[in-house]
């Protein structure tokens, strides 16, 4: 399995939670605190490095809060374009 990582723009996130059921690895959770807009944003909690960088979360996020990275497998080090 590829390893991945997501960064969530917590100030932009409205806590709609649509990314959570979209994530096959179940590594997204609501934060405890509110952001400055009064929403509880989603954060990545991925102690076991389960995130695969599949970008399904980003695909459904209405607010474009999620940036997705994937580890480059040793053999293939060229950068891919953004999700087609």
């Amino acid at each position: 399995m590829a390893k991945g990582r997501v960064v969530i723009d917590v100030e932009r996130c409205k806590g709609c939670e649509l990314c959570r059921p979209a994530c096959p690895q179940d590594v997204l959770f609501l934060a405890d605190d509110l952001n400055s807009k009064g929403y509880r944003p989603v954060i990545l909690l991925d102690p076991n490095h389960d995130c695969t960088g599949c970008a399904l979360c980003a695909t459904v996020c209405p607010d474009g809060c999620i940036t997705v990275y994937r580890e480059i497998p040793a053999k293939k080090a060229v950068r891919e374009p953004a999700l087609a």
């Binding site: 409205k14 807009k37 009064g38 929403y39």
Partner: protein, 177 residues
């Protein structure tokens, strides 16, 4: 006597209903009242506030530049109204969401952790009742009983089961220092 009250916060915090309840109670008590809302562009969230005027005389302008009372439920509302409250007026702050402290000494200020208080009572959504209770304790424009009666009169059947809880939070707010 005329009292003008602004209640301000996020949409969804029960700001408009709190104002309406005051207006109902004022009307039931035979006074002249006006209630007027104002919203931001958002359908959900965003800012919302309302102005209530309760008076023994016919009411002219339904809006005020400087309210006698401001009830602020979130930080942006605190920032907006802290300097507008009329000298001698009252600023009621939901300290659960507002961290600032008022620096003025020409007005009365009270900090009520309304979210906490309501949550403890069983429903965080009733934070508006907590603040109304605290308001009546400080400005006896209406009695607690009058407000409770209005709750009974004007809360729809669908929400009737929440009536008792509403009253409880109201009372907690009333007795809250």
């Amino acid at each position: 006597m005329e009292t003008s009250i602004i209640i301000a916060g996020f949409g969804g915090q029960g700001v408009l209903f709190a104002g309406q309840l005051l207006a109902y109670a004022g009307m039931d008590a035979g006074k002249n009242v006006t209630w007027i809302p104002s919203y931001g562009p958002e359908m959900r969230g965003g800012t919302a506030n309302c102005t209530v005027i309760i008076s023994d005389q016919p009411i002219g302008a339904p809006i005020v530049a400087q309210p006698d009372v401001a009830v602020v439920l979130n930080q942006p509302s605190f920032d907006k109204y802290v300097n507008l409250v009329k000298p001698g007026g009252l600023l009621l702050v939901n300290s659960s969401l507002v961290t600032s402290v008022c620096g003025r000494d020409d007005i009365q200020t009270a900090y009520i952790a309304a979210n906490t208080l309501a949550e403890e009572a069983g429903n965080v959504k009733l934070l508006n009742m907590a603040l109304l209770g605290a308001l009546l304790a400080r400005r006896p424009i209406l009695t607690l009983e009058q407000l409770e009666q209005s709750l009974v009169n004007h809360v729809g059947a669908s929400k009737a089961h929440l009536l008792e809880l509403n009253k409880q939070v109201l009372q907690r707010g009333y007795s809250c220092q």
